[in-house]
Amino acid sequence: MQPRMNAKPQPGSILCRPWPTGAGAIALVVVNVLMFMYARALGVFPQISMWGASFYSHLGLKTASPFPPYPVKPVLLDMHSMIDVGIIAGALVAALLTAEWKIRREDWRGVLVGLAGGLLMGFGTVIMPPCNMGGFWVATMALSLSGPLSALGLLLGAYLGGKILRYEMACAVGPVDFRFAERGQPVEIRPAVWQRWAGIILLVGIGIAFLLYRHAGLDKVAGLFLFGVAFGVIVQRSRFCFVAAFRDLTVSRDGRVMKWTLLSIALGVIPFALLKAHGYQPMHMVFPMGWHNIAGGLVFGIGMTIAGGCGMGILARSGEGYVRSWVAIFGGMLSAGLWTHIYGHPVGEGWLYGKPLFLPKVLGWYGSVGFVFAFLLLFYVAIRFVEKIKDETGKRRQDRGEILSSRPAGVDVPVS
């Protein structure tokens, strides 16, 4: 039986229905805090950068991993990399269990856009650093001043990237004229029962991999792999997208996803502050602060928007079968993996980077939490302002009757 999503929710289909956006945001921050308590908080692109350095080393170009805490290691033995592998596996298993998995092919143009997006994300992550998950979302709740600064660059980058997407779309749908459209054929419903079985088998495989790691004494690798799986499942089921948060706000003046993002940061900042104030990894996810946060955010923002996902997004979507995400991951590996070779220093060293600024050292614990909440409140007020402009513009258009009267009247062209 096929899942069906009518306007009214149907009881009994909860497992197959998408999760609400807010549930996704809250689940993400809960898992992130738990993972921080277990070992570390979420960050995905330094690992992809390490994979890139490893790729070049295999080609004979010896280059160090750009992020010093992530030295080149075999992926399956590296606990950080296993978060990323877990995200791919989690999204894949969730997509299979709900029969939503599909190879989403791309033409040559889509492949090139994905590669360009990945290359920009790779450069953005080493300049910012790191990606928008670690560099904005986690860094802000971890009381690093680099987090709010990165948001400025990401917003600008998402605006520019979104303009490119809109232009592409305008060119694609411009020639469509429904007045000459023929009646469409009824769509055949094709059951995909095999996907559910494949999902169950993969779920068992994930459990076996966890037990094998435990048996080998690699507890942290096993644990972080499972946390990664949880992130992948949440992103796939809730369709929560950090790119959409930035892109929708700047391009469509729609702040719905960004408001959930801000709420998730607000929920995360107090547990992070409490843990850090008690001496638990106080400098964890505190990054160099300076103009490079904005510049790197800008580059990363353009890249993630045209690639169709942030670091975690392209990992999850690669599990869902998006060819563009596979290419984007490879592009990110190619550019970020070469950074030490190009720049001559690892990330955080040399002329480019400022010093890490941990807010409690300047403002104290209460002052830093207050600062982050003030930042979130200011951001929220700015979103409401942007939405208000959109509402007023829409109302003016409706008053003038632009929306409905501009449509051709009296032509009945059912498409199916």
């Binding site: 069906r4 599909k102 769509v187 419903i189």
Partner: protein, 63 residues
């Protein structure tokens, strides 16, 4: 592919003749939330969203 359906639907709705029905086939999971929301905001009815295959959905929009 995400997020193209979201950006495609606005110009398509502007062109949709009044009184007709548009069946949109998408393979982007997020579009099953975004596209109906945008259509409803612009005064269109969305009577049905149905999964028609693995990773594919049909969204019916009535003008």
């Amino acid at each position: 592919m995400c997020p193209y359906p979201k950006y495609a639907i606005e110009p398509l709705l502007d062109k949709l003749p009044a009184g007709s029905e548009l069946s949109l086939l998408v393979d982007c999971p997020a579009a099953t939330g975004d596209v109906p929301r945008i259509a409803r905001e612009r005064g269109f009815a969305v009577p049905d969203i149905q999964q028609v295959g693995s990773g594919e959905w049909q969204i019916k929009i009535q003008g």
